[in-house]
Symmetry: D2
Subunit: 357 residues, 4 copies
């Protein structure tokens, strides 16, 4: 498709570029075949500094030289140097204010913030699950009078979980899920979790997280309807925990299905066979493959498996019968790649491929 190979690079901005998700955007956009970063924005007190001075770089991958030299700009519509796309790693309260201003002026905002995820006309987009949800963008533009638009990616725990639930729902019909997360510290940003709270410890609480994990997958697996995205009708109960892991969220789950698989192998086959919708295939960030199933008894593990498929693949293991419901499994997904910056870049690629941008 010609649309999927833009001839000249598309100018993009990163909003909130100094945080951990902003850093991951820079890493993922370094050498991206379609996008060229033309603006980095940050908080007022750091403006005027070069990015390299302003940032406390925390990735083990080095800070690219081009980014180090860019000036840090204010997060304002007039400061994006003509970017057609904006990747937003803004705090939710600032996102709530700035993202619509950008959308109104014709910018396409691919947001990692939770500010608009609950709006029926704003998709929580995971292209390998619901590329068709971009259809609501017509409603979004019509209702709000925007020339651009906002798409969001999900909470970092919902993303890998939703991928697995989607594959199981397609094959067996999903009714209910108990899910317990063991989440990496990079999901809390910087400075984020204090070391005295997490070294040699577990924090059994992450503010606001359980409500997101119980609700977002229902929207992600929902359907486009006249009133916006209509929620899928399964139920989730979530316990979310923080553990001393740097990158990679681990989720264990028990699920009730409409039709029980004959055996775990049938479920494994369904997971391994899962394919993205046509529109979401072959993009630079398409997970290759979407799901990997490990057969070893002790996998997946976040330290070993989070980077599978460049961090875009969801790794599943321990698929086994559940003594109460139908199936148990473990899933690991990279929280700042598939669960944040990588997901937003994939969303942007879909918008380009579908001709929105």
């Amino acid at each position: 498709m010609s649309l999927s190979n833009p001839k000249s690079p598309i100018p993009v901005a990163i909003l909130g570029a100094t945080g951990t998700v902003g850093q991951r955007f820079i890493h993922l956009l370094d050498g991206h075949p379609w996008f060229r970063v033309v603006a980095l924005t940050g908080s007022a007190r750091r403006q005027g500094q070069r990015y390299g001075e302003a940032v406390h770089w925390l990735l083990s991958e080095p800070l690219p030289a081009w980014a180090a030299e860019m000036p840090l700009l204010p997060t304002e519509p007039g400061s994006l140097n003509g970017a057609a796309l904006a990747f937003s790693a803004l705090p939710s309260d600032i996102a709530r204010e700035v993202e619509p201003q950008l959308a109104a002026r014709g910018v396409w905002v691919c947001s990692n913030a939770s500010a608009y995820r609950r709006e029926p006309d704003v998709p929580i987009l995971l292209p390998e699950i619901n590329a068709g949800h971009t259809a609501v963008l017509r409603q979004q533009q019509a209702h709000r009078g925007w020339k651009g638009g906002i798409v969001t990616n999900s909470n970092c725990t919902s993303s890998g979980l939703s991928v697995v639930l989607k594959a199981l729902d397609d094959a067996f019909g999903l009714e209910s899920a108990f899910v317990v997360s063991m989440q990496a510290i990079s999901g809390a940003g910087y400075p984020g979790v204090a070391s005295l709270d997490i070294v040699g410890n577990v924090l059994p609480y992450i503010g606001g997280e359980e409500a997101k994990v119980e609700w977002e997958p229902r929207k992600i697996l929902g359907a486009v309807a006249p009133e916006g995205i209509r929620l899928a009708d399964f139920r989730i109960s979530a316990h979310t925990n923080r553990v001393p892991v740097v990158n990679g969220h681990t989720v264990v789950a028990s699920v009730a299905l409409k039709r029980a698989p004959a055996d775990p192998e049938e479920a494994i086959r369904a997971l391994e066979a899962y394919q993205p919708p046509e529109a979401a295939r072959g993009l630079p960030s398409t997970p290759r493959p979407v799901i990997v199933v490990r057969r070893e008894p002790d996998r997946p593990q976040p330290r070993l498996d989070a980077l599978t498929g460049g961090g875009m693949t969801t790794v599943v293991g321990r698929v086994r019968p559940d003594p109460i419901w139908d199936l148990k499994f473990v899933a690991v997904s990279h929280n700042t790649v598939r669960g944040a910056a990588g997901g937003a870049v994939y969303n942007a690629e879909l918008l380009v491929a579908q001709g929105w941008v």
Copy 2:
């Protein structure tokens, strides 16, 4: 009760004294008001060494001088220096062989090994839950022709969990539970978990553990019947995980109850009001109290709460409604105290108080 205050110290042995649970026995029996350690046994290749030479001491509490000087003896009936009670921290295969030999000769074995937990006439004893289960010891002695007997404590994850389930079952009737553990490395012994497997990581698998956690609480909360302990009829689905925590197992759970509490406060009141059976009160190791409920949103945490009540108390928090079933909560219990050595010492105290020893 005069029985509960033995006039002269009762001689006891620790079997498998060099491992992590054996070390915890030494720490807990140091200064115990009723028991005096007269024999420490260990593996053949270390025999003849003083305990202080043979052990790789791993507790932050110092090795008591009396223990350091004791010789390490073979794990044989003839080597216990007249001990009336034996605390067994033996590996399961050795326990299977040695423990009945001791029971046959009149020794009371309080075992941390899993070898006999599945036998209907061997109680999995947690006095604060099921002190009356010692009634099956009559059957045990009769059937097996023993002059002593074997009582076991539960798996380290089942113990704290069973305490909470018991309090909820008494108040509301327990139907089902989904439980997910995040277990400390000390539960795996020494050398146990390799650091490359757990530093900055989660291991979503512990061999054989899920079967124990799904079954043991049903026996612990079961009833004495002519054929031995009859299992309670609720169901458990368990996911067990290892996390980089030194001491303290954390369990998160969702439960279905026969009668839903009006609100979480009713459940909290039931947990806080829980009392041990009469026979299990007032012993040196009785948890004081059995359950503590924390109201802070982010408690309990293993690093901060495992040592509550000297490590014998189960700490519960985040008691809240479950969107699918009735109730969710988090529980922390000390895996080598309440979940292993401390539980076995409490069992021994009960046997003394009830006049078995």
Copy 3:
């Protein structure tokens, strides 16, 4: 000595009571035979709250009930409820302002802050090393017109190190020391070190720390002179690092001595024989013993040894020849007990025993 056993409890205040050192003061003063806490002070935005509400308690030992119920007061001379002694866990800038105000009004301030450590008439007091340094308090009162006074304890890394250097200096004469610390996260307070900076990592830098470690031991081992404390004339080169350990600072050192010990055993004997000055013996917080030498090749370790002697003892190991200078060793000391709150309490006990308070 009658002075060392005050008849009625001495009222004391804890300044900056909500931080990690403040919490340790509460833990150590819980049940103290001489002192009774009558005031807890904290930052302005928390005043009026009960301590139990205001504090984010981080110790694995439980918060005592008496402390939980106390109101949090402003850090002002008029708010100490008649305390004769104030334990200061204040930030340095606030300490600089408030501590002299208290001293002027007759309060004895035992400070953990670094604000006045460099003043020649303010002792850095470690009673087991330099109990006689309180002699400069006459000068302090005379010069400054105070009715009370200020004594400080050392930086948390300097304390254990100084104890070992003192014992070696007494026996062999100290010339130079290379010291490298691996410091626990609790030394940085709360929230302190961000988990993303330290989980699975080493931070080779602690702001301002190396200058303290290179200078403070020279004052601690110095002599009382007319102009105040005169520095000892050895030299220290320090590298200070943060490691993912909760409590316990580890220091490795190579030292040049005026007289080389015949062999490491001679040095070990000197360390084991070290005794506090007469005035510092027999107080409630006197380390028992001051130094423990471990013979195992892999000790001391912070997780296993920091709590030796209730956290007041310095544990030394790996005493061996140095291929360039004379001796190498490793020392572990509890950073919030001997290195902070426990040291300040010991200082206060000395002031009482000597009749200052």
Copy 4:
């Protein structure tokens, strides 16, 4: 140079392929432009298994499919499938026996084992320092009657340290160094360090390590002489420690120099200007650059910097005056890449480029 671009791939074997260093060899040789792996060897009890079954893969990079399918062969001269080069990750005792057998038959062994490092005619080769040391291979072949030969790489802590010492020695003349390491757990292999020994802890002891770190750099910076490599005449005093870091050894050092640099900047310039000998440049594994100097006060850190230059670069920081000697600094080097497998591959490339293979 034509020699440096072999026309057809050179067949190579990996000896001891299942351990952590063996795994790193597979990762680094995956897609190597010159070498093709034709044999993987392992311990007797796993022979006959496919590598994918036999290995407990511990790298976060995935196991390459070609390696997973290869059979695990015995570690014998006859089992190398015609390999001209063998990368040895063997335990030292097995290396001592097998490596000479291979060399005798014409194989070039690039060994990570310490077995032959002390032999004067066996170079400890770090091409960016001492590419010319291959000259002793003539002596080695002559004396021992070998058709092939053995070159070793250094201990994982000596490697990064030697790089920095070499650059300083060239510029200022090195006299003495105090070095203290904080070493990653991957340096101890698998299962290696028990988690109970290192989670939340520091181990101040690594068996045999200090002797290696004090001696190896003197050979690495030594000179080719008729009797073999002659040691350089500086002195090192080392303290080696284990910390809970996965990859990346951190070394802090104080050095005495023949000529003091005018200021730290002069030393930094010397480090940044350091170039490998001509023969060691432009090879596939040549570090690019050899040394990076970071100016931030808190770098280098192992989690952030170990992978600089693909793990072959040594990262230095905190270059500052030493109050006793001349200079202090911190260096981080990747222990299983530059300090083990990557170093051995670089050595093999040098042997090919120089025409030995």
